[in-house]
């Protein structure tokens, strides 16, 4: 399908429901949290077709250029329900039915992506971004377990070769520009075009996954006349590994980054598992999570603790700076008009280094952190010889806890008498705020306790007696 006219800010959901009158896909929240609007975007990746569930309410129409859009109406094969639909209906997986299309689509993506094997944890993860208020999820999870433990065999797999050909034909490397100089949706394919375009229109809004920018449109009602979508810039999409570091292109999705970052430490994997939802991770990017400057983004404190570097580009000029220096103040980053985040450079941890991260939120899955603690400690002979500690949620920006670091330095892990003073140093580093997620008092207390917990774990206390989430235990067991 070819669109000649396009309101730059048009969301995929509005386009489906209002233009196409395709009403199977529902709007539940218009902010990418409930999943009722989930659709699947099929793309050509690694020579095959990948199926990514996204929240259509905060996905812009232009973002799916070169891809196949699959909605709930597309699944049945004539009169025959898709295996996911059939299992959902037979196992009483719907009550009011309003969340159901989104749930069906999330499970449909899993059906294709899981290789015929999904355990309960995997299904729970797939459903973390799909709220259901009626069923209590049990029948939905069981339907998912049934459908996603058989080898995918549906009209999509049967037509894969032909669809792959079509995708190859439409996913061209040409720059896309719809509109005029006053209002446009641009999706450059090359970094050069991007750099030139953004330098010329520094007031344009950069969109990568739109998991945040989408809300500016649906909630703030930002008119957003000029949009530069960076999702097609091939040069920003790579993950490169060298001897000392990983380099993530800015538009690497969180879903793609997760296995690489997660391999650094199981705690990183667990934070990323809990990061947003599968829909948000499919769309959201590492560059976006940094560039939006959120004080509660989960990536930044972990990467700061690891000593990551951010690389920016403006026109022809490329510069690098330590990630912690990028965040200047609440809502303010060291990024000039027309400058964009290009790459994130994450150093590999030496074998002597230990990493811990803890995400504290009201709900375990799909929630924004009240506090995120990340500690990267070098331990030599039972003593801490280097310490980088960063927190999210404790200040207007993700920030290092320098006093805590100082107190940890030289600390002998077995020396319990010094744990408390390291924890108490949190109060010197931070004056957190009270907000809807937690009070300042709670944040302070938990931040200190997490320092103690980390030290206790490094001193040898097994995480299966320090954490309520069983998943972390499993991750550690696999270590």
């Amino acid at each position: 399908m070819r669109l000649e006219r396009l309101l730059p800010r048009a969301t995929l959901l509005d386009w489906l429901r209002l233009e196409e009158r395709s009403t199977g896909t529902k709007e539940g929240c218009a902010e990418g949290d409930c999943g009722a609007c989930t659709v699947v975007i099929a793309r050509r990746r690694h020579g095959g077709v990948s199926y990514e569930p996204v929240n259509s309410c905060i996905t812009l129409v232009g973002q799916i250029d070169g891809a196949e859009l699959i909605t709930v109406e597309d699944l049945a094969d004539g009169e025959r329900l898709h295996p996911v639909q059939e299992a959902m209906a037979r196992r009483h997986g719907s009550q009011c039915g309003f969340c159901t299309p989104g749930i069906v689509m999330s499970l449909f993506a899993q059906y294709h992506q899981c290789g015929g094997v999904s355990n309960r944890d995997a299904i729970n993860d797939v459903l973390a971004g799909n709220l259901c208020r009626c069923t209590g999820y049990r029948p939905i999870v069981e339907a998912g377990l049934e459908a996603c433990n058989t080898r995918a065999d549906d009209k999509f797999t049967r037509g894969a070769a032909q669809r792959l050909g079509t995708l190859e034909a439409i996913d061209d490397p040409a720059d896309v520009f719809v509109g005029d100089d006053a209002a446009f949706f641009a999706a450059p394919a090359s970094e050069e075009t991007l750099a030139r375009l953004y330098a010329r229109h520094p007031e344009a809004t950069i969109v990568a996954g739109a998991t945040d920018v989408g809300l500016w449109i649906t909630k703030k009602l930002d008119p957003m006349a000029k949009i530069i979508h960076v999702g097609r810039v091939a040069a920003l999409s790579g993950i490169e590994e060298s001897a000392g570091q990983f380099a993530f292109g800015a538009i690497v999705s969180l879903a793609r980054a997760a296995p690489v970052l997660g391999a650094i430490d199981p705690d990183v994997a667990e934070v990323l598992r809990r990061f947003g939802s599968i829909q948000v991770r499919a769309s959201g990017t590492v560059g976006g999570n940094i560039a939006n400057g959120s004080p509660i983004g989960d990536l930044a404190p972990m990467l700061i603790a690891m000593g990551a570097t951010v690389e920016l580009r403006h026109g022809e000029r490329i510069r690098q700076l330590p990630l912690e220096n990028f965040f200047l103040d609440y809502g303010k980053q060291d990024r000039a008009p027309g400058e964009f985040v290009r790459r994130l450079l994450v150093p590999k941890l030496a074998p002597s280094m230990q990493f811990r991260a803890y995400k504290i939120s009201k709900r375990i899955d799909e929630d924004i952190s009240a506090v995120l603690a990340a500690l990267c400690l070098d331990i030599e002979g039972g003593c801490i010889s280097k310490a980088r500690v960063a927190f999210g949620g404790m200040a207007g920006v993700p920030k290092r806890a320098k006093t805590v670091e100082a107190k940890l330095l030289g600390l002998r892990l077995a020396d319990r008498s010094r744990w408390q003073s390291a924890a108490a140093a949190v109060n010197e580093d931070f004056t957190p705020l009270s907000d809807l997620r937690a009070s300042a008092e709670y944040r302070r207390r938990v931040a200190g306790n997490l320092v103690i917990k980390a030290v206790a774990e490094l001193a040898g206390l097994s995480s299966d007696v320090t954490r309520v989430a069983e998943r972390r235990i499993a991750a550690h067991a696999a270590e």
């Binding site: 409930c34 109406e73 329900l81 639909q85 959902m88 209906a89 719907s94 744990w419 207390r445």
Partner: protein, 783 residues
């Protein structure tokens, strides 16, 4: 027509069967239509609502000129456009459609914009310029209480002399607990489509649990006779009480817009507006004092329930009364004073929510029981059991006799065994003794929930059934479908009565022009009431058919049987569809209205005596949790539920209600927190900030069973209501968290408030020397 035992025991084709929801196949394909999915009539305009930027004050001026000039705007609607009465309240007359001068809560609707698109309407709303003489709002229940502002008079149940009884008791406890509110978070937000018709009439499609109230209030506001307004609803995307009165306002505004423009008008609230502008579960501050024996048996109790009602009465009379009706839960209170204050605050008017106050009342008494157990260092389950209703201890605080008290004890003891409660309690104690950071807790709590609207007049229902010549059946009744499976259950009843297949039964949208003067689909009574009304309508038609057959074939009525889509007539049989054709030709009337009113009910509110409930639904749950004393994080490890639905018309649907109710109640008591700022602005107005349970919050080990019981009362197929009671089962989760906290300092009362967020848990734990606590784990190091 009461059911005979013979009917009940006959082999049944549809009833007592775990059949899928009638719309299940449509849900999974996205072809079940909600109001926003219906094809829009030509010329449909879209409405967005503008709310007040202050919680309390007087509007000096409201400048809407920029709004009216915005692109795409067709009209602006304010209180000045209300032709008749500016009031959407169910009865009290205290809630305007649009604020006129006085503003009583933040985001209170003040005007609406009608535009060519929804996007244009929403953007135009933000151009309004308010000049408000703002006053300091009363936001909390304490502020409202201190100001002495209430929406309704105080009310109490008094029996004996509670204060003296407490004073004379060998043991006494007193304390407080706060119980938070809850946002419904129906997945489909509020929506209405109003289509103007002839003579000023209006057809309103509304996502409402109460079409009759929408009809009546649209008529009231427009100044029309009720008969000029029709309200229809095929299905809602969830209700939970949040569309009992709260759907009305949007239907009324859509109708006002349609009246003003002469065009169809649709109003669909954005989620954030929905959460800010519509009512929620009442939150409570509770004070209690109890006197009891050294074995834990209660002598006397005094409970003060202070409810935050918000800015108007809405349904508060019933909600807070029901909290009082359930402040005994399953326990006999020899002497009692159960008092209530219905406190007015400058927050959105709180409203119906599954359980309708009952959950808050139960939370209060369950905390009282826990404090007794902690003080006496008894197993809380033993204190629960010794206080249950029993022989000679069977009169409730409102004078109703609990006739089936044996059900509660049998159910609890069955669950106690099946959940291995006693063994697990020992294991948990052993775990806690050597676990430095993680502490486990377990609790088994009962639910006894009164079934019937406590406003007796609401316990009535109507149905309209047509049988067409081809033998297909058009099914209609006053109940609404919000996902609970009402339509499916009632269809099973209709098909059963005529011995026909479900494919012959056409389920149709609830509509006020088919069945008038209906009650809301609420109080768990949907199937009880509408199932009976439909059964009566169908039996009326069946009786006429029997009379016709009996005369035409000259056989006795008792030799005529309706089975397997055929009618057996003596030794002959004909297809049902053939019989209906012949009956029509013989001029037999094949349409009937059915009507039912619940028997045995009487309630004198002034005297606080009577039988407000037809019967009780019982259940119990045993929950185990683990908490982290350094962070307050919590995880539910295992849940066992045993629930009494009488004889289940559809076990799959009933189990769905139990599981769904449990998880919703668990959310209320754990992660779901409504946070207002000092100016009365709701800060948690979207799913990004208000956290309902997700799949991983449900314990993998979740064992739900139906109690093998019947209903001693003559209900439809001896079933019991199931919508609300399961919501209170997760009080066991809250009690288990309290139990885990209690393990840190046995004997000390736990002051945990709901919701038990990580922060609330950590606060209840109190100061902990984390390093010292870890010393306990020293032996685990390198283990």
């Amino acid at each position: 027509m009461p059911q005979s035992e013979a009917t009940r025991e006959a082999p049944l084709r549809h009833v007592y069967k775990a059949m899928p929801h009638d719309s299940g196949a449509k849900h999974v394909q996205g072809c079940a239509d909600y109001v926003d999915d219906m094809p829009e009539p030509v010329g449909t305009l879209h409405v967005a609502v503008g709310g007040a930027p202050a919680a309390r004050g007087t509007i000096r001026t409201l400048d809407l000129s920029e709004v009216a000039n915005a692109p795409g705007v067709v009209a602006v609607v304010t209180a000045a456009d209300v032709p008749a009465k500016n009031d959407i309240s169910p009865s009290a007359g205290d809630e305007p459609v649009f604020a006129d001068k006085r503003v009583i809560f933040r985001d209170q609707p003040v005007f609406a914009v009608v535009a060519e698109t929804r996007d244009a309407a929403r953007r135009a709303v933000r151009r309004a310029r308010f000049d408000i003489d703002a006053e300091k709002p009363n936001v909390t229940v304490e502020q409202g209480g201190a100001a002495g502002e209430t929406v309704l008079p105080d009310y109490a149940f008094v029996g004996g002399h509670a204060a003296k009884g407490i004073a004379a008791a060998p043991m006494r406890n007193a304390g407080t607990i706060r119980i938070g509110g809850q946002e419904h978070f129906y997945l489909e937000g509020q929506i209405a489509l109003a289509v103007p018709g002839e003579d000023g009439g209006m057809l309103v499609h509304s996502s409402t649990q109460h079409p009759s109230e929408v009809q009546h209030i649209v008529a009231r506001v427009l100044g029309l006779p009720d008969s000029f307004v029709t309200c229809q609803v095929r299905r809602m995307g969830g209700g939970f009480g949040g569309k009992e009165t709260q759907a009305t306002q949007w239907a009324v505004i859509a109708a006002l817009a349609a009246r003003k423009t002469g065009q169809p008008c649709k109003l669909r609230l954005d989620r954030d507006d929905d959460m800010m502008m519509t009512g929620k579960r009442h939150d409570f501050a509770v004070r209690y004092a109890v006197g009891y024996e050294t074995n834990g048996r209660i002598r006397a109790v005094n409970i003060d329930l202070d409810a935050r009602c918000g800015c108007s009465a809405d349904l508060t009379i019933g909600v807070v009364d029901r909290a009082m009706f359930h402040a005994d839960n399953a326990y006999f209170l020899p002497e009692f004073r159960i008092g209530s204050r219905r406190i007015k605050t400058n927050t959105v008017s709180n409203t119906a929510f599954r359980g309708f106050g009952g959950p808050q009342g139960m939370m209060a008494i369950e905390r009282v029981i826990d404090t007794i157990a902690w003080r006496l260092q008894l197993d809380p389950l033993d204190v629960r059991k010794i206080n249950l209703y029993g022989a000679g201890r069977d009169i409730t605080p409102y004078g109703q006799t609990v006739e089936d008290h044996d059900t509660a004890i049998r159910l609890i003891e069955q669950l106690e065994r099946s959940s291995s409660y006693r063994e697990r309690r020992k294991q948990i104690a052993a775990f806690n003794a050597r676990s430095p950071i993680l502490k486990r807790g377990i609790a088994l709590t009962p639910v006894k929930f009164g079934i019937s609207f406590t406003l007796t007049s609401l316990n009535q229902a109507g149905a309209l059934v047509h049988v067409y010549q081809d033998g297909s059946l058009h099914l209609n009744h006053g109940g609404t479908e919000m996902g609970q499976g009402l339509f499916q259950k009632v269809a099973q009843v209709a098909a059963e009565e005529l011995g026909i297949g479900l494919e012959r039964v056409r389920i149709t949208a609830t509509s006020t022009d088919k069945v008038p003067n209906t009650s809301a689909t609420a109080a768990s009574a949907g199937t009880d009431l509408n199932g009976m009304a439909v059964q009566r309508a169908v039996r009326e038609i069946k009786m006429r058919l029997i009379k016709f057959v009996s005369e035409a074939w000259n056989v006795d009525a008792d030799r005529i049987e309706f089975r397997d889509d055929r009618v057996l007539i003596g030794n002959e049989s004909i297809a049902f569809g053939e019989l209906t054709k012949q009956a029509h030709a013989a001029r037999v009337h094949l349409s009937a209205a059915g009507f039912y009113k619940t028997p045995k009910l009487h309630w004198d509110r002034d005297k606080a005596k009577g039988r407000p409930f037809f019967y009780y639904a019982y259940g119990a749950a045993c929950s185990e949790v683990v908490i982290d004393i350094l962070t307050g994080e919590m995880k539910v490890k295992r849940v066992d539920v045993l629930h009494d639905v009488g004889r289940s018309i559809n076990p799959a649907i009933d189990i769905g209600q139990i599981e769904g109710g449990f998880v919703q109640g668990m959310g209320w008591l754990t992660t779901e927190e409504l946070v207002y700022d000092e100016q009365g602005c709701l800060l948690t107005h979207a799913p990004s900030t208000y956290k309902i349970p997700v799949a991983a919050d449900v314990p993998e080990d979740f064992r739900v069973a139906l109690f093998d019981g019947s209903n001693r009362e003559e209900t439809i197929y001896r079933s019991k209501a199931v919508g609300e009671p399961p919501l209170m089962l997760p009080i066991s989760v809250f009690a288990a968290i309290s139990d885990a906290i209690h393990s840190l300092d046995p004997g000390k009362p736990v002051e945990l408030d709901a919701p038990a967020t990580p922060e609330a848990i950590l606060k209840a734990i109190g100061p902990v020397d984390a390093v010292a606590a870890l010393a306990l784990g020293a032996d685990l190091v390198d283990a």
